[in-house]
């Protein structure tokens, strides 16, 4: 089953923001104390968050008066219609509590699964690009495979294996697992996604065959970047603060929500630079990202970053603003450190089209590669994530992908060499 991501943005009723914030704080505290949210029972939601945006002043002193809005972001298994329907039926109590503070939510007497679903559906905003660290893995599968790995690990530790061959051990594990009723799911065959080399080769051939066109395309890109540099980059207002110069109170507020488990969240909101040129550039970057995510970044790494479960970009309010969300392993520092090393090009290509970004040149230098300013920019444009839920906070994305490998290799017939490799996974 495929994974999907949905973003729902709703204006909050005037003067109700503080009450809503209190409610969200209560839900988040409950989560921290191990009280699961109603929707956990659905067993299809990987990550979810509620974020209140446009409450207080914009970080770049944007003069526009904005209405506070509630953002709901959810990563889940299956189709959007099914998810919304289930949420509006089985988790209605929670939804009602939260959305009672929002504009246009059906009044009490008119709240039905249908009316709630219609409300949510009407407020869905489109994703610009979505990344999934373990494509195809459902919540159920992730939990099952985690149990399987733990079971095998315990079994391996329960005895000594002397000089048994790897093949023999593989077979013994297989027998032990097969005789255990908890692992009936192993009958279902699963595939591990792989890089679409065929598609890439095909693309390469097409580009070669149409060499003149390719050259024209390249030239166009070069001209584009030159124009961007001369007419846009040089006139940009740049972000020049360092981390030490960020607002202390706001940093403390962000930190309140961080580093409780080995997973963390990140929500970021920035404003687009004006003009069609910038819009076209960011859209082109999103298209490139989407293709790469589909064909290349399918094995748990986004531009080389091995710690992201789900991430996505969203544009809204007539493409004038960009949201970025991520659910990841480890700390904020490692997350961004990784970004700089492996994907500075991608981040610069995308975010330099938004206002007040660290100075870039030809979309290639500066920007995300300017470590100190980039870290500060990123932290400064971050938002407090009011409620954050993870279905499996104890698992890293590497664990999840490794568990699938274990599951797949366990069910195969393996050569001695393959079996030895399999044992290394556990």
């Amino acid at each position: 089953m495929g994974q999907n991501s949905t973003t729902i943005l709703v204006p909050i009723i005037k003067n109700k923001v503080d009450e809503l914030l209190d409610l969200l704080a209560g839900i988040n505290e409950g989560l921290a104390m191990g009280k699961p949210p109603l929707f956990e029972e659905l067993n299809i939601i990987h990550f979810a968050r509620w974020v209140v945006i446009d409450h207080g002043k914009s970080w770049i002193n944007d003069p526009v008066e904005r209405t506070p809005k509630l953002l709901f972001v959810v990563d889940y298994d299956g189709k959007e219609t099914d998810l919304l329907r289930k949420l509006c039926t089985d988790s209605a109590e929670l939804l009602d509590k939260v959305y009672a503070y929002c504009e246009n939510f059906p009044i009490l007497e008119k709240r039905t699964p249908d009316s709630r679903t219609a409300f949510l559906t009407n407020n869905v905003i489109k994703d610009a690009a979505v990344y999934i660290g373990a494509p195809g893995r459902t919540v159920r599968q992730i939990k099952d495979e985690s149990n399987l790995r733990d079971f095998i690990r315990k079994y391996l530790d329960s005895t000594t294996w002397g000089n048994l061959s790897a093949q023999a051990i593989h077979q013994t594990i297989k027998n032990e697992v097969s005789s255990n009723g908890n692992f009936a799911f192993l009958d279902q065959k699963v595939k591990i996604p792989s890089v679409n080399w065929l598609g890439l080769i095909f693309l390469g051939i097409v580009l070669l065959v149409l060499l003149p066109l390719t050259i024209v395309l390249l030239l166009l890109v070069i001209v584009w970047v030159l124009v961007l540099h001369i007419f846009y980059e040089r006139k940009d207002e740049n972000f020049i603060r360092k981390r030490s110069q960020l607002n202390d109170k706001f940093m403390t507020e962000l930190e309140k929500y961080e580093d409780f488990t080995s997973q963390n969240q990140f929500t970021q909101l920035v404003d687009m630079k004006e003009g069609k040129f910038r819009l076209f550039t960011i859209k082109a970057m999103f298209s490139l990202s989407k293709s790469l995510i589909k064909f290349v970044f399918v094995k748990g790494k986004l531009m080389g970053i091995p710690t992201i479960h789900f991430a996505k970009w969203v544009m809204f309010e007539e493409n004038s603003r960009v949201l970025f969300f991520s659910n990841f392993d480890g700390s904020w520092q490692q997350y961004l450190g990784d970004f700089i090393d492996n994907s500075g090009w991608g981040l610069t290509g995308i975010f330099s089209n938004t206002k007040v970004f660290p100075k870039t040149n030809f979309l290639l230098t500066g920007g995300a590669y300017d470590e100190e300013h980039f870290l500060a920019w990123s932290r400064n444009s971050e938002l407090v994530t009011n409620v954050w839920y993870s279905a499996y906070p104890h698992l890293s994305i590497k664990n999840i992908n490794n568990n699938t490998k274990i599951r797949v290799q366990l069910m195969k017939s393996l050569s001695e060499r393959q079996a030895a490799k399999f044992l290394k996974l556990i």
Partner: protein, 484 residues
């Protein structure tokens, strides 16, 4: 090529003063800022610099260095805007709800239980580092001690007159073989600062800006140095911001210093190793116990890396440091992925990155370590594991970016149990929690053939007893501080 202004840099940042086997770290409060500034106006000349002195007999028998906490600089009279230009970590200090979570200072390591630096302790304003070496004696710690203490007494006689009040002191010692209390040779691997004049393996040479303000770091940019934003004092003394902002730089040739007093629970450490490797008749298997401990640490007691000597300790004191994990031990069969040294400096083997990328990542998280022993010197082993009284390490390190360096190492690489392909393996030395939550495991996985083994239920062998973040200014800045 960068050249460091060694005569402006306080010595302890560049040199470990290893020949000065006895030292006293004195934590003080400023009671009279004017008096302290008057003292600084003279005493900056007496601070030991990093300047290389080729003739041994010209090296002073005593060394002195100084560092300030945030509240110390505040007390001294640095203006709010200028204080505000220091990094957030330094300004907050080691204790805040988030930082405590990040550093794993929970349970018996919680700041509430600390001896110093905690919420129930008197705030520390500055730390004086006093070192002594008897030039006649040959590695004789008792003789060094006399020199150190005499110098300390000399300084102490003027504390009150200089507006200073002593809160506490901790005596830091080194051993000729540099073994810590668990019995392992320590301090072998240090980054080599580019431009410091030291030489060593190319992979270990790190840009000066990783440790010293005013120089470029490994990302090719200048670290976030504190700048003068509100005029005060004799600004003519200060150098301009190297980045060209036009502001005066109070950080240049200085660094940030992290200090943590870590009690070592020697008996717990060795009892655990003994228990996990005992013979069938329950007697201690010394060889196996030593081997497991070496796997946990990453080196044998002699200092020899287990990566190069997988079977047994070669026995001779070793400083071998020019090796990589990817090259010699890709699968962790010799030095497990979870071992203390491998995870805190993974060298050429970070996650599944290639060698070059790994080295780059590793080098973005290096620190200069300056640990010294406290308590009665003891060399632990499987059969000798009850020291006389409390023993431990006064951990000290230098870095320009506490968040990306020290805190990253403590949190991301030590406390988080997910290094490499691991699941439930915190750093077995500095990452283990006293109490786990329901269902949580703390293991050490020994990669092996045909299958890896889980060493379960790691005990906490380090208890944090105190700590603080300090600014370690240049000589020039000490002089400037006397004029504010």
């Amino acid at each position: 090529m960068t050249t460091l202004e060694l005569n402006d840099i306080q010595g302890y940042l560049i040199r470990g003063y290893a020949h000065m086997m006895y030292s006293r770290f004195v934590y003080l409060q400023i009671t009279d800022a004017e008096a302290t500034k008057n003292w600084l106006a003279k005493s900056w000349k007496t601070m030991t610099t990093a300047e290389h002195i080729p003739k041994k007999d010209q090296i002073s028998s005593t060394h002195l260095n100084i560092a300030f906490t945030y509240s110390g600089l505040e007390k001294l009279g640095l203006k709010t805007d200028n204080l505000g230009s220091f990094s957030r970590e330094f300004r907050q200090g080691m204790v805040s709800p988030h930082r405590t979570r990040l550093l794993g200072d929970l349970g018996n390591s919680a700041p509430e239980n600390w001896r110093w630096g905690g919420p129930f302790n008197k705030p520390i304003h500055l730390c004086l580092m006093v070192f002594g070496n008897d030039k006649e004696g040959d590695d004789d710690i008792e003789k060094d001690k006399i020199v150190c203490i005499n110098y300390y007494e000399l300084l102490k006689a003027h504390f009150a007159g200089n507006g200073l009040e002593e809160i506490l002191f901790i005596d830091g010692q080194t051993q000729p073989e540099n073994k810590e209390h668990f019995g392992f040779r320590d301090g072998i691997s240090q980054p080599i600062i580019e431009g410091s004049g030291r030489v060593g393996p190319k992979d270990d040479v790190i840009k000066a800006g990783e440790f010293i303000f005013g120089y470029k770091n490994d990302f090719g940019v200048y670290p976030d140095t504190p700048l003068i934003r509100a005029e005060q004092g004799n600004l003519n003394l200060l150098p301009p911001d190297a980045e060209g902002s036009g502001l005066k730089d109070i950080g240049r040739n200085g660094s940030l210093m992290v200090m943590r007093q870590l009690e070592q629970n020697v008996k717990t450490f060795w009892s655990f190793m003994n228990e996990k490797t005992k013979n069938e008749d329950h007697s201690i298997n010394v060889a196996e116990s030593l081997k497991l401990a070496a796997k946990v640490i990453g080196r044998w007691q002699s200092g020899a890396p287990i990566t190069l000597f997988p079977d047994k300790d070669p026995g001779v004191i070793s400083d071998i440091n020019d090796f990589g994990y990817a090259k010699f031990d890709k699968d962790g069969l010799k030095c497990p992925f979870g071992s203390h040294l491998r995870r805190t400096n993974p060298r050429d083997s970070v996650d599944d990155h290639g060698r070059k990328e790994s080295l780059k990542l590793s080098n973005q998280h290096r620190i200069i370590r300056r640990a010294r022993l406290y308590g009665e010197i003891f060399e632990g082993s499987p059969v000798n594991n009850v020291p006389n009284g409390e023993v431990g390490l006064l951990f000290c390190c230098f870095n320009a970016d506490i968040s990306r360096q020290f805190e990253f190492l403590q949190y991301t690489w030590a406390n988080l149990p997910k290094t490499k392909e691991l699941y439930n393996d915190p750093d077995p030395i500095i990452g283990v929690k006293e109490k786990t939550t329901a269902g949580e495991e703390q293991n050490f996985t020994v990669q092996d053939l045909p299958v890896s083994r889980t060493i379960s239920d790691l005990p906490q062998v380090i208890t944090v007893k105190g700590g603080d973040y300090f600014f370690f200014p240049s000589i020039t800045v000490l002089r400037f501080l006397s004029t504010i």
